[in-house]
Symmetry: C2
Subunit: 442 residues, 2 copies
Amino acid sequence: MPSKTKKITTSVLPGFMELLPADQILFNKMLSIIRDTYESFGFIPLDTPAIERSEVLLAKAGGETEKQIYRFSKGDNDLSLRFDLTVPLARYVSEHFSNLTFPFRRYHIAKVYRGERPQKGRYREFYQCDIDIIGNGTLSLVNDAEILTIIYDVFKGLGLPDFKIRISNRKLINGLLKSLDLKDQAVEVMRIIDKIEKVSPKETKQNLLDIGLSKDKVEKIWEFVGIKGDVKKVLKDLAGMGQKDELFKTGLKELTEVINYIELLGLPVSAYGLDLSIARGLDYYTGTVYETILEDYKEMGSVCSGGRYDNLAENYTSQKLPGVGISIGLTRLFSRLKEAGLIQSGAASPARVLVIPFNQEVTSAALSLGRKLRSSGLATEVYLEEAKFKNKLSYANKLGIRYVVLVGEDEIASSLWTLKDMETGKQQQLATKELIAELKRV
Amino acid sequence: MPSKTKKITTSVLPGFMELLPADQILFNKMLSIIRDTYESFGFIPLDTPAIERSEVLLAKAGGETEKQIYRFSKGDNDLSLRFDLTVPLARYVSEHFSNLTFPFRRYHIAKVYRGERPQKGRYREFYQCDIDIIGNGTLSLVNDAEILTIIYDVFKGLGLPDFKIRISNRKLINGLLKSLDLKDQAVEVMRIIDKIEKVSPKETKQNLLDIGLSKDKVEKIWEFVGIKGDVKKVLKDLAGMGQKDELFKTGLKELTEVINYIELLGLPVSAYGLDLSIARGLDYYTGTVYETILEDYKEMGSVCSGGRYDNLAENYTSQKLPGVGISIGLTRLFSRLKEAGLIQSGAASPARVLVIPFNQEVTSAALSLGRKLRSSGLATEVYLEEAKFKNKLSYANKLGIRYVVLVGEDEIASSLWTLKDMETGKQQQLATKELIAELKRV
């Protein structure tokens, strides 16, 4: 009797996503819609190593990032896996500055790594789909409007229901806090405001009082965050606040200009709106900020975020490189959409057609026909195993390949192939040319 | 005066490839030709984590692999970066066995990691483009022929000159060595034979004598390895050796059958040939083996290799999973082809068209036109910065965007856009519809 040797665990590590074929095909389809949309706007593909020097990655990173990072040494090198695509971009642009043309528009779709404690919806390895536009010294504000149209095209392309892009400008809240003499507490205040949708308004207010803000100042912040309505009304109410702070006024001017461009571009007004509670993290962004939510699934949080920053790469270069960009965390988005039933996987094969030879004797004829279909642009698999006819058909069904072409002695003799539609059961006899035409038609 | 803070090194780590835009676009184009060819044969995309449990990766690996691996711990986990895509495939198929349909045809294009000593043409992070067909229990020999047609289609698709796929069958050499009572020295002998093209025949012979083989046995091996010519002649000469070893005879039968299928498929005879000196590593492969060389650049070594194996995943499952597959090391191939001048990069942008507004006042009109071109399927960038007209045109030139559409007050008034061909200098005035038609035509 053969001894059973102990087998090694094959389960995927917690916090890592691994998909079965049909889901993988669906995932790749979403990824390619995002890529094609980015390329349609002239964004250049970038690919940087997943491994970087730790000092590069940790130049700006705070405590949380440092804890989460996958860090290791090899020889004398202190290395880490990238935790986002922005730091590698900063390094890339600094390193290759003289070989790049500005504004530099790049997209980068790749995996990043964060060794977080595994929890629902959080991944340790996940795809980010980023675009950024980097200026050399300056970068026109029109880019901030264009980025919004790109978000719109991506989510429209993905066929997702009722999404809304929320816009704000960090200069508004920064200016407001400055005018209230709260500059030193800005980080704390924004962290509280960022959570406004997750906790109740009442609690948010209490949290602001708890960190020592006077009732007066809380009311001022409350007035600001509470401004709601269509963009025209929000812009009017912001102006009506009578803020004298220069930063605030610049923010309002920028926001108005960005909104003007968006309106001229004719995006549906339901697709975007102003939301002054968006703070987007701590001190990275300096102007326009974006978040994107699915109206009926607000609990998913933002599915595409980003904004404008003054200087991309101050740790690596003395060049001033302002930019604006967005990021889609596709791994998390995919898992949330799947869970919510908003996306469904289809076929488990990229083949459009399965050619089935009746027996081994006609295999070469089947292979030849396969080559002809393929060279007409039809993804075609030929079934090559010995099996019962029933099992060959069932293989097509399991993979979700709808069209099957049967090849037997009769077919070869008559040069007429049998095309079977597995969904309707309909069969037709067709010569090669007609077969190709029919498969391209359906 | 502002103090210059010390900047962090931004150079890429030795052994890692990072490309500038035009090269990256070329690289991606090659990658997508490979992917499309794989999909055209119905191979299913797979994506597994780059990080695996070390015990999974090292289950079968030898000393060299273990030294090269990037290994680290996070929490209680002993983790490593994958060094190939075959071990992850074995784990995947074992883990998801009951959810997969067999034969399971998958492709996987992704980065793998090997911390080798950096040397010319060797990378520590590189793309592998793999296909494998995995049978459940058995797998028909026709697959071995089909794999060869896939290699053919890939290299034809890449437009590479005079490539040749060399084929052999490991059972031949294994059988021969068994019949010579050299089974225990098989590894050593094959390592010497594998290098036959790099060292002289005379030296190879001496190397075989040096490891203690009798002159007789060396002559027998020499007779075998020396069999050359067209496939018919090689098969005849192999039969003529009068080998009685069963393994050898099976190998000859398999090879003959594979060649028969290939001939029936009508591949050009110049595209493939038999080469009995191919051993492909040590004991992984058990049947058909492939190597692909560029006839005029033999020194590049094999650019696509693979073969048949009896059992994919014995360390992880008790299922018997025979398979056949190939791998293209795209990073290395790209760098070699570039160096040899066999591939040239073109544009540094995916945009087909650059829309240039004359001034800020007409920017929205330019953005609107950009959206129209894009929705007609034309990748379009709009130039959004304030700059001298000359510099706007020069931006198009630098990125290699051939077609420029000029938008000014006159154009808006007349609804006729100016299309400029940057290569010929030719200009035409066209309404939106004609502009789109013209851009699609050229």
